[in-house]
Symmetry: C2
Subunit: 226 residues, 2 copies
């Protein structure tokens, strides 16, 4: 019986790819609004190239952008870009069915966790921004478990932490490589959601369950008496 449910966050609980693109667009517009004399389209392309080269976690995208443009007074534009970027990131909303699904799972007695890459504080921040942090019993991240999420050991560790049996656990995520395959390997149940940039990569899934949103999960979980 499923009693412990682990959710990936990005492109699973909220459209993170969409929000990242919007945040970058808003950052560029904020720099133009403050007087940066370059074409919006040109700036979009240059920023995309920098992110492509440096990776999305590189902390100085905008500094590098302004350096490449040989802007003499970059501080004001960096401040404008970072402010607009963070404002967009602070306004994230969950996929529409998410609050109802999570509340229903809690009402049935399930324990709800996050299992994701990245830093715990950043993932809690996303839950808080979405207004759903109150429902979560904990956040497990690769950084503090010291094992990457595409390894079966990641899932072995979190099962041990919550003191569950693998078959009582359901892992929910959008990525076959990080969410489905390694969780399945340790005997957890798995649910693949087809959305975000990995929606069709790969198209087929080895998950036990799947869907275009998370609604089905409510029916999969029976009432649990503790």
């Amino acid at each position: 019986m499923i009693s412990y449910i682990f959710f990936d966050i990005d492109d699973c609980l909220f459209p993170s790819t969409e929000f990242s693109n919007l945040a970058r667009k808003n950052a560029i517009r904020a720099m133009i609004r403050l007087g940066l004399e370059h074409d919006e389209e040109k700036l979009n392309k240059l920023l995309a190239k920098i992110i492509d080269e440096k990776g999305s976690n590189f902390p100085n995208h905008f500094d590098l952008l302004l350096k490449k443009l040989k802007v003499k007074t970059p501080r004001r534009y960096v401040a404008a870009a970072v402010a607009a970027y963070h404002d967009t990131k602070a306004s994230i909303l969950p996929y529409p069915e998410v609050p109802y699904v999570i509340l229903s799972l809690r009402e049935k007695g399930a324990k709800i966790f996050v299992a994701s890459d990245g830093l715990a504080v950043k993932q809690w921040d996303k839950l808080i921004r979405m207004g759903i942090a109150i429902f979560f019993d904990g956040v497990f991240v690769s950084e503090s478990l010291k094992v990457s999420k595409d390894k079966a050991d990641f899932y072995r560790k979190i099962i041990k932490e919550v003191k569950a049996k693998p078959e009582e656990c359901l892992m929910v995520g959008d990525r076959e490589d990080k969410d489905i395959l390694p969780a399945k390997k340790v005997g957890m149940k798995t649910f693949r959601v087809f959305r975000g940039k990995y929606a069709e990569n790969p198209k087929k899934t080895s998950a036990d369950y799947s869907g275009n949103d998370l609604r089905k999960i409510v029916k999969m979980v029976k009432n649990i008496s503790h």
Copy 2:
């Protein structure tokens, strides 16, 4: 004739002491909202003590607070506190007369700058949040000038940077020690505004001009033809 006007930011252009206090209060309430089982008043006092001991620029006030309370799952509360703190800081508004005063000075042909402690990007961020960044020709901070603001050299350097004569420059600020005395020493004109936590410390000023707000400055500046 006054043609170059330098403004301090904190407690000069916006009530920074008030906003810092509000940001801390909102941070504590956000932690309680997420389930932290401690009394609000007790948390306020403990945080004040930590800030007092570690200084306001120490980056881990909330981590330390939760450690002192022996909270076992601190990540969620740190995320909540930091989010609420930043949201409050992002909502800063200038003192009511500020936008009109600065616009009027620009219309008269004056060049407008910030002269402050801290990091340039952080100061630009404040100007952007207040909606007045567009009026400023530049930001000078002690960090990039590599001299602290209570030294006459700080003011010597910024006068040189803008290629002005000392008597063409007006320094506006709330602090006798950092804004008035060293600027006066190099021959700049000075304006002390009596507000914020240094409003009465000291009560008397050696500044050439003073007031409870910045309105008088508009009349002090004549139309400048470039």
